[in-house]
Symmetry: C2
């Protein structure tokens, strides 16, 4: 019987070993893709000074920050809190270490972040984010936007997610559109309303726009605008047809056209689309923005998103570091895939061999024998317990793919059998 | 110029990418050894309810716990804090999930823990601990103690630490010795004094014993006792010579003898020693205890320690789960090895190839070309920036082992040269 509540805190994912093995495999494979694309891993502390975090946080995020208090007095006087994303620590890191880094700095962070969100299904308070960023000094070519997106799509593929759709836009386009309509005063509100448009019924979006008191005509034009989507040629044609002379708008169209053009040559056409509904709400992005969905499971929403930002470090440094980045929210993605029964059912038996020594002498010999098997890359469990043989065999069949019984006969003859627990078949072990 | 203090919080390790690459390599290799020894990875949340943490913490540890406060109201009412080790969360995990686990449960946790220690060199407030444990239900054979120690020694070897010395004892021996001398009332104090004996001058240890008012004769006997060390035969002989009939003492000697006997057959003799100074202070261990030092750098102190505990979950459950475990404190160990200039100097260039496309057309072609190189396992950086060619070459030479320039000629002829940045040599690339 339990003496107290031993469940993990709600909103924090805790897995059984066989699920954890799959989770770790996904994480490792994504990290491997990032590595092969030349992204350098860094790791910043989970705890930051509040002035660093609050400089960039705002609104909802600030309310969700976990503050940290040490019970004993220390010399460290600054208030501290847990980081809520990788971008703020990256901005601090680049400011602090810029003289030791090479730019463009290709960087990846794959740690855990913390937000005290209200507990609900699919929302996590502790979650892994697998981030990549390319950070330039003063300038950064637009082609890096493509590089980041291609890397993330490849990483999703490694997790078995081949059927993805990357929805791309550029914030300058909606920004310019808003300028053309003289709606700059409610720009933030419009970005936020459009960002939520797919999560609420259509009439709700219209209501929210009506509440801005911008007039029926502009509402119609906005609602028409966000319906624009399709491949590069189709979308570029529609956007050019506005014939705006607005510089921001046209820059946005040029950039989007460049990004889409290259993406369409690198990815199969059903994997990428331009979509004016993609705006990334109140985020700090200033150019390219993207979200990635699983078209077969579009209710999940975006599983991987990111974009281009004008200046990573503006709050921390006088220098300018433009960047582009993206992130896979692994904890939420894993949890969703598990609910859909889409996580690989393998790894239920993470151990290759379980060796059961039958007596004292065999027990001693089993240590060396296990090492031999391990040297060829196998994972090997030594069943050393004092339990009855039948219980040891039961245990072995639960954790391992193959079982090996070691006794006097086996040690003398050197003839050692392995039992495949999935088929019951016994074959002689040839490796040793 | 910096606009605010962007250094990491003191006591938290933050590495540059080339150091981080070595750190991550060490961690991965240790995890790989644990995996091959059949230990299953789990991960518990970093944040736990305080009642879980405080149930087991005590004294100094409790004062060092980081409390966590969410700024916004939630339904979660319990006080929360950051975990200070992996053992408490493991106890909670085993209690919570015991019906889904197979026992003996071989488990590994390799995450970060938090203690608000006073800042000083070699002390970290955020630190990785690479733990393994074997947890039995009701019982657990003594041979698992050996299994855990051998696994940890192999893991240290993978980090290049071949010259290690494992110092082993058994808490029952000192416990029985204390009983024989009728010193049970100051048992905790004696364990703590002996645990610190090597960190303070000899007269300080004597002073502390004198302060216990146990009489000169018992002090001498204790001081003699802790000098006992050596191989199995020598130590067993000395301990048996006491001729105690104390059950605890003799059980301890039997267990130590069994553990040492097997360790001596599996490890070279200079790697293992019995040593009565090893007692692990106020820890929860009840049987085997061990610490590991680097004899060439013994001032570092123990780099890997652990032991056997009677009942992992006693504070959380009515069931009994005896276990044995050990831990490598990777953050401190890495920092110490770095100061001694013992970390591998490799990985200064974590990227294999940097591709520099010279014009627009080559830039587009470079994406596919990079993918080809990556398919054969290389890490490839695409230098897409708009900078001058010479700056791009400089960047490439900093991050990558080889550089490839892609232009019209190369694309037409298919003859592509790679330049080895360390020698300056250019050779034709044959892979593609």
């Amino acid at each position: 019987m339990k003496k107290m509540n031993t469940s993990p805190i709600s909103g924090m994912l805790e897995l059984l070993p066989n699920e954890q093995a799959v989770f770790n495999k996904y994480k490792r494979e994504v990290e491997e893709v990032f590595h092969r694309h030349g992204f350098l891993a860094i790791e910043t502390p989970t705890i930051e000074r509040e002035e660093i975090l609050f400089a960039k946080a705002g609104g909802e995020t600030e309310k969700q920050i976990y503050k940290v208090i040490k019970t004993e007095e220390t010399t460290e006087s600054a208030d501290q809190a847990l980081r809520f994303d990788h971008t703020v620590p990256l901005a601090r890191y680049v400011t602090e270490h810029e003289s030791d880094l090479s730019f463009p700095f290709r960087v990846t962070q794959t740690g855990k972040n913390y937000r005290g969100e209200r507990a609900q299904k699919g929302r996590f308070r502790e979650f892994y984010q697998l981030d990549i960023d390319v950070v330039g000094r003063n300038e950064l070519a637009i082609e890096y936007d493509i590089d980041v997106i291609l890397t993330l799509v490849e990483a999703l593929g490694k997790m078995g997610l081949e059927k993805v759709l990357v929805r791309v836009s550029n914030r300058k386009i909606l920004g310019g559109f808003i300028e053309e309509m003289n709606l700059q005063e409610v720009s933030n509100e419009i970005f936020s309303i459009i960002d939520h448009a797919e999560k609420v019924p259509a009439e709700k979006t219209r209501e929210k726009l009506v509440a801005l008191e911008i007039g029926e005509e502009k509402i119609e034009r906005l609602l028409d605008f966000i319906e624009i989507s399709g491949d590069k040629n189709r979308v570029e044609e529609k956007l050019r047809a506005f014939m705006f002379e607005n510089q921001k708008f046209n820059e946005g169209v040029d950039e989007l056209s460049r990004v889409l053009g290259l993406l369409e040559t690198q990815l199969s056409s059903e994997k990428v689309i331009a979509d004016m509904k993609i705006v990334r709400g109140l985020d700090y992005y200033t150019g390219t923005v993207f979200e990635t969905i699983l078209p077969e499971y579009d209710k999940i929403g975006s599983i991987c998103s990111g974009g281009r930002y004008e200046n990573l470090t503006e709050l921390y440094s006088d220098q300018k570091f433009p960047g582009v980045g993206g992130s896979i929210g692994l904890t939420r993605l894993f949890s969703v895939l598990r609910d859909l029964q889409l996580v690989e059912p393998e790894a239920k038996k993470p151990v290759d061999f379980a060796i059961i020594p039958v007596d004292e002498e065999a027990r001693e010999a089993s240590f060396q024998f296990a090492e031999k098997l391990r040297k060829t890359g196998n994972s090997v469990d030594l069943v050393l317990s004092d339990k009855k043989f039948v219980d040891k065999l039961k245990y072995a069949a639960k954790v391992a793919k193959f079982g090996i019984v070691l006794g006097e006969n086996e040690l003398k003859s050197g003839k050692i059998m392995k039992k495949d627990f999935s088929t019951g078949e016994e074959t002689e072990l040839s490796v040793i």
